[in-house]
């Protein structure tokens, strides 16, 4: 008895752990799963009966239409184009943020700037001023520069990143000083040191920040809505709404297609996180200096 009772207690703990985990997983997975199942029905069924729990026969058709049927007000934009736009925004956003914030952190950490600390904290306080707070002046500026309906206007105003600068600053500060000195004695100037030493050293960090920023950029909604009126610049996240609202005049909204598009919109971030998981964890926790 004395031997079995602790064992049984451990088993109960395991059971409750797993119950919680399974419930959590179901809670997280149910909405996309329901969306996927419902995407296999035609618009009328969904409109009349709501979200479906059994598969219908329209799955292929809905995905096909969502991706390739020209739609929107101008009948020029299809899912593929929107996917493309989303990718451009996500990648441009992430790469831009990494370049800008790495260079900012490099300047702050390695150069004896007079007000480096002040500059860093000023960058850091912009965390308190997200896009939503400064959206009107930002729009005004972009509009006056004539950058509405361009990828530049879509991406550039978003790439200054306090988070990225902060992460890179912390990372650079943990690079041993001797490495910097060794590189200096080896004749590496500032640019060489950055490219030959610092960038390769930061690669896990870069990967981690790329993932975060890509997903963040991919999910942007407000800014693209404001800055692009031309449908050929629509992103997936915007496109879903477009389908539901105004695919064709007075018909029942194409719920099936919208759900199919939602599933597609979810895939790239999920895939990126799955494939780069290891890098992600490494980048944020350890470093191989």
């Amino acid at each position: 008895m004395t031997q079995t009772s602790p064992r049984r207690r451990i088993r109960w703990a395991t059971v409750s752990d797993h119950t919680i985990l399974i419930l959590g997983a179901i809670l997280m997975l149910a909405p996309p799963l329901l969306a996927f199942i419902s995407a296999s029905h035609d618009a009328v069924t969904i409109h009349r009966e709501g979200i479906q729990v059994g598969f219908g026969d329209q799955l292929g058709a809905n995905f096909q239409k969502a991706m390739f049927e020209k739609g929107g007000f101008t009948q020029t934009v299809d899912g593929t184009l929107m996917l493309m736009n989303s990718l451009i925004l996500g990648v441009g956003f992430a790469v831009g943020k990494i370049i800008i914030s790495m260079m900012a952190a490099y300047a702050i950490v390695y150069f004896r700037l007079r007000f480096a600390t002040l500059a860093f904290w000023m960058i850091f306080t912009t965390l308190l001023l997200p896009l939503e707070v400064r959206i009107l002046p930002s729009y005004e500026a972009i509009q006056r520069l004539g950058l509405t309906n361009t990828y530049t206007g879509l991406i550039v105003p978003l790439i200054a990143s306090a988070t990225g600068t902060f992460f890179f600053r912390q990372f650079f500060m943990s690079v041993p000083e001797e490495l910097v000195e060794a590189a200096r004695i080896d004749g590496a100037g500032p640019v060489k040191f950055f490219i030959d030493i610092l960038v390769p050293l930061s690669r896990t960090m870069i990967a981690a920040i790329f993932i975060i920023m890509f997903v963040f950029g991919w999910n942007q909604y407000l800014w693209p809505t404001l800055i692009t009126t031309d449908e050929s610049f629509f992103t997936l996240v915007r496109g879903i709404k477009q389908i539901v609202l105004s695919y064709t005049d007075a018909q029942i909204p194409e719920h099936g297609q919208a759900l199919a598009l939602a599933i597609i919109a979810m895939l790239p971030p999920v895939l990126i996180v799955i494939f780069f998981q290891n890098w992600f964890v490494k980048g944020l926790t350890e470093s191989d200096k």
Binding site: P176, E178, L179, E181, A182, A183, R184, I185, D186, G187, A188, K192, D196, I197, P200, L201, R203, D288, K289
Partner: protein
Amino acid sequence: MAQVTLEQVRKVYPNGNEAVQTCSFEIPDGEFVVLVGPSGCGKSTLLRMVAGREEISDGSLYIGDNIVNDVDPADRNIAMVFQNYALYPHMTVERNMGYGLRNRGIPKAEIAEKVREAASMLNLTEFLERRPSQLSGGQRQRVAMGRAIVRQPELFLFDEPLSNLDAKLRNQMRIEIKALQRRLGTTAVYVTHDQVEAMTMADRIIVLNQGRIEQIGTPSDVYNHPASTFVASFIGAPPMNLLPASVGADQALTLADGTVLSGRAPEGAPASVLVGVRPEDVVLGSGDIPFTIDIIEELGALRLLHGRLGGAAFSVSIGKDEQAETGEVKIGLKQGAVHVFDPTSERRI
């Protein structure tokens, strides 16, 4: 190859802290000089000034015939080996060693040739394709050495290069570094806090304490004629025994409890002095000085006897063949065993 000259060099930090007091010395071409001292004594600061990692507040530094105070580290033609190796973790051994040459625009074939040569000298040939993380501590340190020698610098700088290695490896690398420096004939400045490294590797030792040079001399000089009580107690393990004594009319040295020592104070010594005796300069059982042994430490090759002499702590080191037991014994001092220091200036008299 080059000699290094420091002229009235001094380092003061903006907060007023004087890390290195004004000092001048010259390191002739090909000499192996060790800067030794406890942590915070300014030895690393001095080395960093020579390397160009630290600005020189006052004075001039010559490498060869040129003043290099304002010359960039890359242009001083020096190479440095660091305590934590400071290898580039993402580069292979080969690229680590060749990086400095690559930055100087030397043709690839020549770099490969030089790297191979250095690698074979250091027994690293089979590791050329590995990354530093796949090497042991000793191998990493050898790569760091290789990186230093491929450039054929005028001056090697070593910043406590053996401190991260275990004791056995340290002894081995000590010999390797010394042999390599001999073979290449390159001037070397070596910083360490370990007096054994200093004694074994140096052509000349510079002992530093609180930013001041206590003594410059060959290892035997520094050991046999310490210039101050600091050097006396820093160099040698166990350290030199230091006892307060008074100087009598005929320059005889008398300890606090009336014991008279066999040595004599030199002319001009003050009335009270500090007497230093190396633990191994004592002969057991052949003199008339009473020594009480409290603890015996067995070290294999020798035995350390810790106890009291004339009311002060005193240690004696004897060979493994000599016997000793706790309790009182009579000891004598060898010829010339007594060093006399001024108690206020702590300098040798």
